[in-house]
């Protein structure tokens, strides 16, 4: 594939000289009277289009098909030529649509039959066409910028389609010579001028398509000539075409040639008739699309496709029979299935405003979709970020998780992965935790898997210990997201804490604990990034951790215990020194007062000393240390900043 082939740039040069105002001498009846009112009324005389009208509507049709199938990177520049050249649009993508061109054409209007023919010439337009081909398009510019030192790889090729009324074959030669000479001059100019090198490029290849058009019934003064190389840069072909629909047919063939299009006809589409709403007749609709869409058909050896080649190579069409889709979705695919699709090709109906065509396209377009309000500029990186957060703690096996099997945990688990929490989120998390405490108090069963365990599995209090550990792992994986995440952890630690004696008693009875250890390992990598180790506070924790480890040793000695996991010392109970651990399970009173305290603490600014305190002891005169250049890391809080 080449982006910058000849079809990247197409210049239309349409003759706007006085003789183009001549009639094409093909009549159009436009006053078609409804039957029961015809008595005594003579229909208005038929009218006929001018050569100009025929040329303009045929070239618009060429553009319509091209824009439908190649909405990007295939550009048109429209020039009309009379006493000078009028360039109607630019190469920019914004200028590339039918509406813009139609508006510009309306501004030009039809040729003035009374203008002085001596002053008018198609040559002005052809010269302007060469100039415009030298101008760089935004795609070329972008590619050159991207390729930097390889910028010369970006090609500059183009096509000039000139619709005119020529006097003779030698007149045609003269036009060709003019184009060739102009290209030569401009290439020299573009090569020698550093100043213009950013916006001008030499033309490497130019295809000139000269279309001589004349009124129906007249003899052509110009003969057809197939494509011929006039110079290494320029090729030229001449088409002598009668005006009216013949010209339109010619341009339709050309657009197919120039953009490698092929035709597919959908046959037997049932459509309701306006007059007979309860019956339906079958119609065919012909579509154009890139010919690659047919490659696989042709490969499969089905060469007897299509309806006759009497009208030349470009009248071949592949016929497909219509199947009414079961879902009211896209015609060739059903909604919830993935099909192996090797290519999707944009289409354009050949006969866009015929009833069968518009019926088909409207049916396909009427796939109900909804309106969206509100949007943010969000790059894909945010999505990756979110995946990172969501997967910090994610057990892959259902039997290895307790909390993700518990409906009661959902309110917390669904918000804790967020980048930031609202006050409401924090409150919901806290509610979730209180709810779990309540469940524990009521001794509600937990969905702990007993697969692979002998007997009934862990006891109830052991189950809760596993659950709390897992929940802590989850919350801990996110504490660095925000201060509010930390508050959730604080709440969790406050609520789950147990008196040491009770813990010990429980531990003696426990058989298996690999579940929670796996989950702890999962976040270990994440946690290791944090530099908590130097925190003074941790020292105390480590002390207590050692005691626990000693205890784990005891379990190891028991014959049927599994290998003790190389457990990290538990940090939980030391995170919240203010909670008394000797009072047994948390009472409702302490829960309540805890909550009130938390709520109250939000209403006033905490005394700085207390905020920075460790074990309710604040270090005084810290600034002196700082001034002396000493580390302040003895203070746990400070080290985190």
């Amino acid at each position: 594939m080449k982006i910058f082939s000849e079809s990247h740039k197409t210049v239309f040069v349409v003759d706007h000289c006085p003789y183009m105002a001549e009639s094409c001498r093909q009549h159009v009846e436009f006053d078609m009277l409804v039957k029961n009112r015809t008595q005594g009324i003579i229909p208005l005389a038929p009218i006929s289009k001018s050569l100009w009208t025929c040329s303009v509507e045929s070239s618009m049709e060429y553009c319509r098909i091209m824009y439908d199938i190649f909405p990007f990177k295939k550009l048109v520049n429209f020039i009309v030529s009379d006493s000078g050249a009028h360039v109607l649009n630019s190469w920019t993508q914004e200028d590339q649509n039918l509406q813009e061109l139609m508006a510009a054409l309306a501004a030009v209007g039809p040729p003035n039959p009374r203008a002085d023919p001596e002053c008018c010439s198609i040559l002005h337009g052809l010269v302007a066409a060469v100039e415009t081909l030298c101008k760089i398009t935004e795609y070329q510019h972008e590619a050159r910028t991207l390729l930097m030192e390889n910028a010369e790889r970006v090609g500059n090729r183009g096509r000039i389609i000139c619709i005119t009324n020529a006097k003779s074959d030698s007149h045609v030669r003269m036009l060709e010579d003019c184009v060739q000479e102009t290209i030569h001059e401009h290439n020299k100019l573009a090569a020698n001028s550093d100043h213009f090198s950013l916006s001008l490029m030499q033309i490497q290849k130019c295809e000139l398509v000269l279309i001589h058009t004349y009124p129906v019934g007249e003899d052509s003064l110009v003969s057809d000539r197939p494509k011929k190389e006039l110079s290494p840069v320029l090729t030229s072909e001449v088409h002598s075409v009668r005006a009216g629909r013949h010209l339109a047919t010619k341009l339709n063939i050309l657009v197919q040639q120039h953009f490698d299009l092929a035709s597919t006809t959908i046959t037997n589409i049932p459509m309701k008739e306006e007059q007979h709403a309860n019956t339906s007749a079958n119609y065919d609709v012909e579509l154009l699309h890139h010919k690659d869409a047919h490659v696989d058909f042709l490969k499969s050896g089905d060469s007897h496709l299509g309806g006759g080649s009497r009208e030349g190579p470009f009248k071949e069409t592949i016929t497909l029979k219509w199947c009414t889709p079961r879902t009211n979705n896209i015609v060739f695919s059903s909604i919830s299935e993935l099909h192996y699709c090797t290519g999707a090709y944009r289409i354009s109906p050949v006969d866009v405003n015929s009833r069968p065509s518009s019926c088909l396209t409207n049916f396909l377009l009427n796939d109900p979709r909804y309106k969206i309000d509100g949007s943010l500029e969000v790059p894909l990186e945010r999505a990756k970020d979110q995946l990172e957060k969501h997967t910090r703690y994610w057990p892959m096996i259902i039997s290895q998780t307790t909390i993700f099997n518990m409906q009661a945990v959902v309110p917390l688990a669904s918000v804790i992965v967020k980048e930031s929490l609202t006050e409401e989120d924090v409150l919901n998390c806290q509610k979730t935790i209180y709810n779990l405490v309540d469940m524990e108090r009521k001794n509600d069963p937990l969905p702990i898997s007993t697969v692979g365990t002998r007997g009934k599995g862990p006891k109830r209090d052991e189950q809760y210990r596993i659950m709390w550990n897992e929940l802590e792992t989850l919350v801990r994986a996110h504490i660095n997201n925000s201060e509010k995440h930390q508050r959730v952890l604080e709440c969790l630690m406050a609520c789950r804490s147990k008196p040491p004696e009770e813990e010990e008693r429980k531990k003696r009875g426990r058989k298996r604990e690999d579940k929670e250890d796996k989950s702890e390992k999962a976040v270990k990598d994440y946690e290791q990034e944090k530099s908590w180790q130097d925190s003074e506070r941790l020292k105390g924790i480590l002390e207590r951790g050692k005691e626990e480890l000693a205890e784990a040793e005891i379990i190891k000695d028991s014959p049927d215990s599994p290998e003790p996991p190389n457990k990290k010392p538990l940090v939980e109970m030391d995170e919240t020194p203010q909670v008394e651990k000797s009072k047994g399970p948390v009472s409702l009173l302490s829960l309540w007062s805890n909550r009130i305290n938390t709520a109250n603490s939000r209403k006033h600014q905490e005394f700085a000393g207390r905020l920075n305190s460790v074990n309710n002891r604040a270090e005084l005169y810290q600034h002196l240390k700082e001034e002396n250049g000493m580390e302040t890391t003895e203070n746990g809080k400070a080290s985190r900043q």
Binding site: P71, L98, R346, I347, K371, M396
Partner: protein
């Protein structure tokens, strides 16, 4: 947890319709998608029996060297490409399918040692044979690798490669030259000769022509240095490195990862032969960036499809075994071990299947693909990966890939609270012609329909005042753009006539509107800028009559 991709670009005001139509080429036979069969084509002409002079050892013939190299290839495939099919064809002036497509590498190995010697080389007929065998077995859509083993003696006279190439342009459709193969293919030519030997005649040139004829798909391998077992081994080693190395990658989704094999090996892709001729290769880190509903991605066009197989790597980095199940369950214990370790692939595959979603995966800079579950048979389904065309916007209905983001970043859930709507497909910036009611008068019927619409509405004035003027203005705009001023005059005449034909019972406003419209059209038909401005519409005449429709204008 579900993560959706959502776009943030130009969504406000997107209306309720899909805005662009395309034809899609959908390929059937999904059951054998991850196959890339090999055909080994072995030259058994007399010249292959030419002895190789190796000092101080027993005498070898070229065919022995060839068999040695192929043995190496078969052994490699037996370990790394267990699921792959291989066939063996031998040829001289005739050809014969020695072993049809099989996964049994012992059979292939045995056949190597049972080859007879025949007459002269006739490559063309052998290649025709390969075409037939492959098309019969696999059709035209399955990519195939052809390993041609020859000594570079290309035959003499009729049927020689020189003769074939010389007459290649004078063929009829019935005896078309077999290259390019009528299926996606790679042609690897293994020469039991060294470069000097081939260059002394025009053999190398002829073989290069063959690769060219296969659209450049393939490569020629020659023996470096003297002909001996060691150098043959290194030549086949190069082939294995190029064409038979399993593609290993790490599939990542946040903190979840899995080692995988991507099969068949993703081919390097050339985006634009002119401005970007360096083939792009996919990353070995395949990072999932998000998930999207199947209905939203629909059936997107893809470059290629691949099976994603979880693999267990031991510490040396060697593959222990794939985790996929096979019909003939003779897998080793390594596989069973691998099967017991929780694997992210399994989680991902199961989730995509249940949720009806695909995962969007980053393959490289501005290059994406999708992971999805595909049913192979009623019971089995596989984790598959399809590659989109490289570029910032491979699927126009999703918009720019970089603009897709997490659903939670949206102020309002774009899928609705009940998950009953979707932000996709996006509306193209410019409507396509079939979605914007364009005016085309190339056929007289197009023009007549538009005129009649005006006439029909004219007879229902003042009720249809709005539609009357809408159609009138549409016609006016097109006529001005096409410079078709005679039409404006004609339609004006027609409206004036309608005015005279109004029945007694007609609303008085009808006559006023018709006269006004006719007058305005006549003014426009003069072409003077004052009345023929394209953007200026004819507006209904404001009358004293209580026509509520005009009041509303």
């Amino acid at each position: 947890m579900k993560l959706y991709l959502r776009t943030g670009e130009g969504l406000s005001g997107a209306d309720r319709k899909a805005k662009e139509l395309s034809v899609c080429i959908l390929i059937g036979n999904t059951g054998i998608i991850f196959i890339m069969p090999t055909v080994v084509v072995m030259d058994v002409s007399l010249s292959m029996t030419r002895p190789v002079s190796i000092e101080g050892s027993e005498e070898y013939q070229r065919k022995h060297l060839a068999a040695h190299g192929l043995t190496m290839l078969f052994e490699h495939m037996a370990t790394n490409y267990k699921l792959e099919f291989t066939a063996l064809v031998v040829f001289s002036s005739l050809w014969e399918l020695m072993v049809p497509f099989t996964r049994d590498y012992n059979t292939l190995q045995e056949a190597l040692s049972n080859m007879d010697d025949y007459d002269k080389t006739c490559l063309e007929s052998a290649l025709v044979g390969v075409c037939n065998i492959v098309q019969q077995e696999w059709g035209g859509a399955i990519p195939c690798q052809i390993v041609l083993v020859t000594d570079g003696c290309l035959g003499i006279g009729r049927g020689s490669l020189r003769h074939s190439l010389a007459t290649q342009n004078q063929r009829s459709e019935s005896n078309r030259f077999p290259l390019p193969f009528p299926f996606p293919s790679k042609l690897y030519i293994m020469c039991m000769a060294n470069l000097e030997e081939l260059q002394s005649t025009d053999s190398l040139e002829c073989l290069e022509r063959l690769i060219d004829l296969n659209n450049g798909e393939g490569q020629i391998f020659t023996i470096d240095g003297p002909l001996c077992l060691k150098n043959v081994q290194s030549m086949f080693g190069k082939l294995i490195d190029l064409a038979y190395t399993p593609f290993h990658a790490v599939l990542k989704c946040g903190h979840l990862t899995a080692d995988v094999q991507v099969f068949p090996r993703p081919e390097p892709f050339v985006v634009d032969e002119e401005i970007d001729p360096v083939p792009k290769v996919i990353n070995t880190d395949l990072e999932i960036v998000g998930f999207i509903d199947i209905a939203d991605i629909s059936s997107p066009p893809v470059l290629s499809r691949h099976l994603v197989l979880p693999i267990a790597l031991n510490k040396e980095g060697d593959e222990v075994g794939t985790g996929i199940t096979d019909d003939n369950e003779d897998e080793n214990s390594a596989n069973q071990i691998a099967g017991k370790i929780p694997n992210f692939c399994v989680l991902l595959h199961g989730s995509l299947k249940v949720e009806g979603m695909v995962a969007i995966v980053q393959l490289g800079p501005e290059w994406h693909g999708m992971l999805y579950s595909q049913a192979d048979s009623k019971k089995k389904s596989n984790l598959m990966m399809s590659l989109f065309e490289p570029g910032p916007e491979p699927l126009p209905w999703l918009g720019k890939m970089a603009q897709l983001g997490p659903i939670s970043d949206a102020k309002e859930n774009p899928y609705g609270e009940d998950d009953n709507k979707s932000p996709f497909p996006l509306q193209p910036k410019n409507k396509r012609s079939y979605a914007q009611n364009v005016t085309v008068w190339i056929k007289p019927s197009g023009l007549q329909t538009d005129v009649q619409k005006i006439l029909r509405n004219a007879r229902k004035l003042p009720e249809k005042t709005q539609t009357f003027y809408k159609e009138l203005n549409r016609l006016r705009k097109a006529a001005l753009a096409f410079g078709f001023l005679d039409l404006l005059k004609g339609v004006a005449d027609m409206l004036e006539r309608e005015c005279t034909l109004l029945p007694e019972t007609a609303h008085p406003d009808a006559a006023f509107q018709l006269t006004h419209a006719a007058q305005q059209l006549k003014l426009a038909s003069t072409g003077t800028c004052e009345y023929a401005a394209y953007d200026q519409n004819i507006t209904p005449l404001h009358t004293d009559f209580s026509g509520s429709s005009t009041e509303r204008m």
